[in-house]
Symmetry: C2
Subunit: 448 residues, 2 copies
């Protein structure tokens, strides 16, 4: 078990008017650390409670001994217990103003420099940043912006190219669809059909009641708006399943069986003669695989799709400012209702919700978009099953940048604890990652 | 003559609450530009009016044709005509809050990306940043933080290490002293003596009057505080002379003769038997070389030491926030009254003046301090006569980082128009710089 610490950080690193500080939480496990100079593996926390990421990043725990490494897991500001303004942190756009990736990276840099200057034996410890998903983006960006702080970075399932103009907006949902297509006969086709079936059934009051009962909804559907929310919730369910389509029983977003999409698809194998009600019965059984694998849910809640350890509101704010990630569907190459990417509508929603407007081009300007060739010592690993690989760095780059594909992997599978049912591709990925870590540490030790 | 343009930029790149924009001024000279793909030489403006820097950066003008290059000179926010809040920009710490180097670099990045996406033929133009002094620091940092925007940087006389803990605080004034020592017999010794002479003479009312008349001061000295200001003004005069000790007549900080310190030292060659009044007469003659070479000054003003094109107040604010540059004197290795570096006193002054406190470690954290080896394509050029070389990168670094010393050069001599009286070392420096520019451009054209 790691020790829990807090460190005082500037609320605003980029301006001097706001001179307040806040306590950032970070976890340290130094059981295997070999000072002086033993490396530090530093998890760049993402949008949620750091203890949850800590528990879901077994890779770091498993290699600590081999590296004689200290593990540090730093919580991202505005999530978990690292709230710059306590309970007021989310109260308005004024308090939310310091929730940006740039501030988070500066937090990590200041924290590491403090650790190195105060921990006996850490002064010359090479630091490698590790992160998954948005945390993986931070890990890569950290190496790009603070190469004097980290000697290298592992960016697992990090969609650093899921920004306007960098990748086609439809790729993400295409991959979700492919996962369903390969997991059971007619599975994607039946999901594609289900939206019309929902539209048909929900057009009458009795249909709404039937749907609500069939899906064991905690709050029955009453209006067309409820149906839109319901469809959005189902869509997100299929996306989440694609993210966590792991080969073994796991509990990341939800407790799930091995290869959960295969289990889901068992309920979605109808041929073309199925009725709307039959189809939707199958869909409800499928959804319950995701929401009630343990059998403990008394009803399904359409306002939540994943663990409460994620800070959804904070992530919405980040998506509404810097993290503008265009997504779209066409219903042909994917199994969803067609919906174009509409930046203006998105911007208006953001303004209504937070009083701020997203800046579509900023992430590309500040982090370089596809122009990252001048950087070094970053591993981009991606899973072939993971929809986020659509915005990831999945082709090989120049020398000191590495892309590793894990064809049978879902969302940052490589960062998880190893498992007997791990596919060979993720075992290989992890051993490559270890190889690069060793190389970076060796290089760093050579530099005076 | 360049064309003058303005471009709308976010006042705050790092937060979304302040969504206002301001007009940044930039100058463009495209007479020799060869589109498509001709390079862009981009001057990263520093603390002053951009037209003044533009006129004092002849190097760019002289190489434009050879490179088929477009010249762009971008004004730094809060200086010249690029005022985020117009006349209110300096009114208080709230309006000054967006005056930081990070915001300025983001301005440059956004401007360049806009130029490249809107100017026909510029899309694939490699951009090289060029700057001197603080502008040179920005130029280097720009390449470090935005390597996807600029393929290389020339950082001339850029004291990127003049921050706490990086170089000894006394080096700066030691170099000033060496310049005087080498420019005339006893010259540094007599300046060293002059402080006591001033203290002695100024201890009586008649002495104050004599001093005021001797130095033709616009405002006569009345009090001990006036004498402190007077000594500070003289000290800054000697520093400025060291910065602009050029081999030919020039007008950068002031209109001056060739090798101005040699001219100054003609009045400071006394042997040890000189009286206080004789010595100070010499000092006044020396000061008038700096303040009245043209003969047009009717009196000397102790509240100003250089051209009004520099934005002193803005620079004070920057020094009081990020740009914390420790300086000290001991009166032994330098020719000044001993004064230790006192961060707390400095911080208190800053707080009294602007309501903000400097952050001593921030510049090192964000820009890497002495740990810059992972960057590439930056030339650090320094003049041996220039006191700012004390905080500069003056020794050779790893492969793609280059340090060029110009032993006979003062402050960014290499950036000035060439002159028949240029020492060979600056000619060599400029041709090396051209060589590296060509190499970076060639490399950039090879990259897809």
């Amino acid at each position: 078990m790691p020790f829990v610490y807090f460190y005082l950080l500037q609320i605003d690193h980029f301006g001097f008017l706001e001179d307040g500080t806040f306590k950032q939480r970070y976890l340290v496990a130094d059981k295997h650390w070999k000072p002086p100079g033993g490396p530090i593996l530093f998890y760049t926390g993402n949008e949620g409670d750091i203890t949850w990421f800590c528990n879901n990043t077994g890779f770091m725990w498993e290699i600590a001994e081999e590296f004689g490494a200290m593990l540090v897991f730093a919580e991202h500001r505005y999530y978990g217990e690292s709230l710059p303004f306590g309970q007021e942190s989310y109260s308005d756009s004024k308090h939310l103003n310091y929730l940006t990736s740039e501030q988070a990276l500066a937090d990590f840099a200041v924290l590491i420099q403090n650790l190195k200057s105060t921990l006996p034996g850490a002064q010359h410890s090479p630091v490698i940043s590790v992160g998954g998903s948005y945390g993986g983006m931070l890990s890569a960006w950290f190496r790009m912006k603070y190469p004097h702080v980290v000697v290298g970075a592992l960016a697992s399932s990090a969609p650093i190219w899921q920004f306007p103009g960098m990748v086609p907006c439809g790729e993400f949902y295409k991959i979700v669809t492919q996962d369903f297509a390969r997991s059971g006969h007619n599975c994607d086709a039946n999901v594609r059909k289900s939206w019309n079936a929902i539209n048909n059934v929900s057009s009458s009051a009795s249909g709404l009641q039937w749907l609500s009962e069939e899906f064991s909804l905690c709050t029955p559907l009453k209006s067309p708006v409820d149906v839109i929310v319901f469809k959005g919730w189902l869509q997100e369910t299929w996306v989440n399943l694609a993210m966590v389509d792991y080969p073994y029983e796991a509990n990341f977003l939800q407790p799930l069986p091995p290869w959960p999409i295969q289990v889901v698809c068992k309920y979605l194998g109808f041929d073309s003669t199925v009725t709307d009600h039959q189809l939707l019965h199958g869909v409800s059984q499928a959804a319950k695989v995701y929401y009630n694998y343990t059998g403990s849910a008394s009803c399904l809640n359409t306002s939540q799709t994943a663990t409460g350890s994620l800070g959804l509101l904070g992530w919405f704010y980040q998506a509404c400012t810097e993290m503008v990630m265009p997504m779209c569907t066409d219903g042909v190459q994917d199994m969803f209702e067609p919906e174009q990417w509409n930046f203006q509508a998105f911007s208006d929603e953001c303004h209504a919700m937070f009083g701020v407007r997203p800046r579509a081009d900023w992430a590309g300007t500040v982090y370089g978009g596809k122009d990252i060739a001048s950087h070094s010592n970053i591993i981009f690993s991606n899973g072939g099953l993971d929809p986020w690989s659509a915005g990831g760095v999945t082709h090989n780059l120049t020398g000191p940048l590495v892309s590793i594909m894990i064809p049978d992997g879902a969302h940052h599978l490589d960062l998880r604890y190893s498992n007997d049912r791990d596919p060979p591709s993720v075992r290989e990925a992890r051993s490559l990652e270890v190889k690069y870590f060793k190389q970076w540490i060796k290089e760093a030790k050579k530099t005076p």
